[in-house]
């Protein structure tokens, strides 16, 4: 199931997205998240929506936005309509959809938890119903040993047996191991990618599981974007935002995306519980996370024990909200 492309999403794409159709440089005018948030607030005050910028009489509205974003810049961005149609066609041909914060299908967890930090656009390939399923996030750094890989796979497998969706970042190492564990057991997996959605969507290993509704890949970045460290770190925030609980299977100390994502999450409110692996080879990074408030993974052995962990999670969250 894919969302229908809305007028609001079209407008937000024109304003903020690089619209990568090939090797061309993207517009230097693109609105940053902060700028877009200013504009969105201003539009709300005017009792307008982004789609209104595209109307036949949109010129007046552009002038009314002048105090927030310069009119000429908005015009240049919004004039990229033909380019927009080109990239959307390319995405659609590859079964990639796009939605925006203004759409009803946009995941409520993400909007509620991240507020204006929630990415204005989400690109994806697969059944959007997985977006609202919550579940267990498993994250880890790229370079892990065989034992940690097996551990992550086992956790993925367990999540599936309990009927929980597994969320991860799709990176090599712990991420992919956890996802593979869940997929092999026939479970549902939500991969939140920091780059290369188009390539991942076309990857043959993903094809059957996406078609079967088992795997949903999403990304806040243009499907053609390649890997950057910044994007990879930013993507971790989204994994936590969509999950009910998170388990860090490995992390460096004081550096790397897994570390900073977990630390950021531990400082957020309301927060979801962040667990760290508590068996096997000890790790400096994981110990440091525990000092910052991460919980030791209680190693649930069966469905009941994992269920209990999730119910406790809900209770904790309720308490933290009402306390």
């Amino acid at each position: 199931m894919a969302p229908k492309l809305s007028l609001n999403t079209q407008a937000i794409l024109l304003l903020t997205a690089p619209l990568m159709a090939g090797h061309a440089p993207s517009s230097p005018d693109l609105l940053t998240l902060v700028e877009y948030n200013f504009l969105a607030r201003h539009l709300r005050e005017l009792q307008c929506r982004p789609a209104d910028l595209l109307a036949a009489d949109g010129g007046e509205l552009l002038r009314a936005c002048q105090p927030v974003i310069e009119e000429g810049r908005l015009q240049r961005l919004l004039a990229r309509g033909f380019l927009l149609s080109q990239v959307i066609e390319r995405w659609e041909a590859r079964a990639i959809w796009v939605m925006s914060r203004a759409d009803a299908e946009y995941p409520r967890r993400m909007k509620g938890r991240l507020k204006e930090d929630a990415p204005p656009l989400l690109y994806g390939c697969g059944d959007i119903r997985l977006l609202e399923s919550g579940g267990l996030a498993v994250v880890g750094s790229r370079h892990v040993d065989e034992a940690v890989m097996e551990y992550a796979m086992a956790v993925g497998n367990l999540a599936t047996r309990c009927g929980k969706t597994l969320l991860s970042g799709g990176a090599k190492g712990g991420d992919q191991a956890a996802m593979a564990g869940a997929l092999e057991a026939g479970g549902k997996v939500l991969g939140v990618l920091g780059d290369s959605l188009e390539k991942s969507a076309m990857n043959r290993d993903h094809r059957n599981v996406i078609m079967g509704g088992q795997l949903l890949l999403i990304s806040p970045h243009d499907p053609g974007t390649g890997f950057t460290v910044g994007n990879a770190m930013q993507r971790n925030k989204l994994i936590y935002a969509l999950a009910d609980a998170a388990l860090v299977v490995s992390s460096d100390s004081n550096k790397g995306g897994t570390w900073s994502g977990a630390v950021e999450q531990l400082g957020r409110f309301p927060r979801i519980p962040v667990y760290v692996r508590s068996t096997g080879e000890p790790s400096q990074g994981l110990d440091a996370l525990r000092e910052k408030g991460a919980l030791p993974w209680p190693n649930p052995r069966d469905t009941d024990e994992l269920e209990a962990l999730f119910s406790a999670t809900c209770r904790n969250r309720a308490e933290s909200i009402f306390s």
Partner: protein, 692 residues
């Protein structure tokens, strides 16, 4: 943006070359609508009304107002060349990018960068081209201020001329934001097509529609079953008809044959087809400037070709639909008081239009074969790689791929150079659409046969009604009908002409992709082991010798002496040098005597000795059951051998076979003969197999 009426009229006057020119009904309203950005517009006006003035003037006004360039998408190049010239007169800087001017692509890009292009004209096929999209269009797409879709009826599934690549356009239009200016134009759209366009282009579509009647055109239909009769009629009438015109044929082969015949009768004509190559522009000019009496053309000379004083349009065969006929015939008499639109109807036309209908969509077997091959390769396949894996012809593979990749969502997509499966499956809607369109084509075909049977005087009314126009203003034809009889002497000469033509068999220079493993050869064929350019007497089943060859192969199992004489005559006229000193032939296990018997008699007729030196060592399926060249090459690999103790003669020889198709048999046989020290090998075939 504000519309400048004065400036607009000034552009019209400069562009048309008439200082007193005024806009026609609806033209100025359309330009104003676009410039002011009042929403999407569909203009339905007959050819010659001046649709191009609307988009050129609108594009120019937009540019002067500081907006980006326009992009025009149109199916045919002939339109573009004429229009670019017209645009230049108005000071509109137009450019085109197509497969013929690859070397100019970067220049066009640079001119875009310097803001020196006002309108870019491209074909829908170009728009679907991955390389063009990612390397050229991606850089400029962000500035396009107006999208013009010419011949917009092609978008409609119900249009007579539905083109698969317009499906891509449909998808692009559906995802265009409403603030982008869009103009769609067409000369012909019945109510069903209009409704379809409204669905694609949006509910707020504004429509400007003119009337369909062409009072200057005198329409007539004549049934002349055989090609020889029609050739004779053409030669006779063309000698006396006033003015210059177009003769339309359904196939490239017919266009070339008709042109060849008329030339042999001293008439100044030329063939114009999709295969004419870079000479097309020169031919268009020649007709525009009345330097030829007529062009004998396929639909490649199509939409948008504008010669206001075209005096006649004659059809050599009945086209598949009323809309196609109306568009082609409607080119005549735009600026003349009277012109002819004559439709000749012949026995082969139904077969040809049937073939077009049947081959428009891939079969379920073809689709399954291609998808299965891709399923097995997780990294995807190129077209040559698919050819090596599935027994489907190259043309059919390409058609299958094009149609599948234009679905939305598409089950396959191109990543880099290879086709890959996507996460989408092909929907049943694809087959439902194919069936619906096929049924529609059948109805259109029948409607044209009804048209053929109409009495003189009723044709225009029929066309206008069929197109949902208003037949009230239709007036009787102004010209008297042309004679419907033919000269019997001329008919006999036409029969002789049809039997005279030989076809060149070009030698293959390269082994297939992956080589011939059993013969252990690959890459380019050694220069000294190539065949010479050969000759085929006919095309299997054609109106000349092709029918006799087919009869001999499948019914008599014997080739008649007439064919021996015709072949000997062809060889005499051809007279290859150095002239061969002996004759040999291609062996067969299925029909061991058919070809040797013929070759022996041909050798006698030529006064040359005949020797068997090649043998078929391994029974293989018939070459005609192999659907593409790679499969045919593999099917031959290792199955032919040199069987004589030594060469009977060293000199050059004729190498005879009945049918030539992929040319692999001749290629392998020539290579074997030459590797054993023979002289030059000159292939001779009775017929060339017709293939899509």
């Amino acid at each position: 943006m504000t519309y400048l009426a004065e400036k607009s009229r000034e552009l019209l006057r400069v562009g048309s070359g008439f200082p007193g020119a005024e806009f026609r009904d609806g033209q100025e309203e359309a330009i104003r609508h676009i410039v002011e950005g009042r929403g999407r517009l569909l203009v339905v006006q007959k050819t010659g009304w001046g649709k191009s003035f609307v988009y050129f003037i609108a594009a120019k006004l937009l540019r002067e107002g500081g907006n980006g360039p326009a992009l025009l998408i149109s199916p045919l190049l002939s339109l573009m060349r004429n229009q670019i010239t017209a645009a230049q007169r108005m000071g509109v800087r137009a450019a085109t990018v197509n497969s013929d001017n690859l070397d100019e692509w970067s220049d066009v890009e640079e001119r875009f960068g310097r803001n020196e292009i006002d309108i870019l004209l491209i074909s829908p096929e170009r728009l679907a081209n991955e390389r063009f999209r990612t390397q050229v269009l991606a850089r400029i797409a962000g500035q396009i201020s107006l999208l013009v879709i010419d011949e917009a009826h092609c978008i409609s599934d119900w249009g007579h001329d539905f083109r698969p690549h317009y499906r891509l356009l449909e998808r692009i239009v559906r995802s265009l934001p409403p603030n982008l200016r869009l103009l769609a134009t067409t000369a012909t759209a019945n109510n069903r097509v209009l409704a379809d366009l409204a669905t694609v282009l949006g509910p707020k579509l504004e429509v400007s529609r003119g009337d369909l009647n062409r009072s200057s055109l005198s329409l007539q239909t004549i049934s002349l079953p055989s090609q020889a009769e029609r050739l004779s009629w053409l030669a006779e009438q063309l000698a006396t008809l006033q003015g210059h015109g177009i003769i339309y044929t359904l196939t490239v082969r017919d266009a070339e044959q008709v042109a060849g015949w008329l030339k042999s009768r001293g008439l100044s004509v030329a063939a114009y087809t999709g295969q004419t190559g870079p000479g097309r522009e020169e031919l268009e000019q020649a007709l525009l400037q009345n330097r030829v009496k007529a062009l004998v053309a396929t639909t490649a000379l199509g939409m948008g070709y504008d010669k206001p004083d075209l005096a006649f349009v004659i059809h050599y065969q009945t086209p598949g639909s009323v809309v196609a006929y109306y568009q082609q015939a409607g080119r005549a008499g735009r600026a003349l008081d009277a012109a002819y639109g004559v439709l000749l109807s012949g026995e082969e036309e139904t077969n040809i239009t049937d073939w077009f209908i049947k081959s428009a969509f891939p079969t379920r077997r073809e689709v399954a074969a291609v998808l299965e091959a891709l399923e097995k390769e997780s990294d995807g396949l190129s077209v040559p790689e698919i050819m090596a894996r599935v027994n489907v012809s190259k043309g059919r593979i390409e058609k299958t791929i094009a149609l599948l990749s234009l679905e939305s969502p598409a089950p396959i997509a191109k990543q880099g150079h290879k086709w890959q499966l996507t996460v989408a499956t092909l929907s049943e809607e694809f087959w439902a659409r194919a069936e619906r369109l096929t049924a529609l084509r059948r109805t259109e075909q029948q409607q044209m046969q009804e048209y053929v049977r109409l009495p003189f005087g009723e044709h225009m009314g029929f066309l206008v009604r069929a197109l949902d126009g208003d037949p009230c203003g239709v007036t009787p034809p102004l010209l008297a009908p042309l004679p419907t009889s033919v000269d019997e002497v001329l008919v006999r000469e036409a029969v002789a002409f049809l039997r005279r033509e030989g076809l060149i068999i070009e030698p293959r220079k390269k082994w297939p992709d992956g080589g011939m493993p059993q013969y252990q050869v690959k890459g380019f064929i050694n220069e000294g082991h190539l065949a010479q350019p050969g000759r085929a007497l006919s095309i299997l089943g054609d109106a000349g010798w092709g029918g006799v060859v087919g009869h001999g192969r499948s019914l008599d199992h014997h080739f008649s002496d007439d064919l021996v004489a015709a072949c000997a005559k062809m060889i005499g006229e051809w007279n290859p040098q150095t002239f061969p000193t002996w004759v040999t032939c291609i062996p067969s296990l299925r029909h061991p005597d058919l070809v040797p018997d013929f070759a022996r008699r041909l050798a006698d007729a030529l006064g040359l000795p005949f020797h068997v030196v090649l043998a078929k060592t391994d029974p293989r399926p018939a070459q005609k059951s192999m659907a593409n060249s790679t499969q045919q090459a593999r099917n031959i690999d290792g199955s032919l051998a040199f069987c004589a103790p030594r060469l009977p003669r060293r000199g050059p020889m004729f190498l005879v076979d009945d049918l030539v198709d992929s040319r692999w048999t001749f290629t392998v046989a020539a290579w074997l003969l030459r590797s054993h020290g023979s002289g030059e090998v000159w292939p001779v075939a009775l017929a060339q197999a017709g293939r899509d």
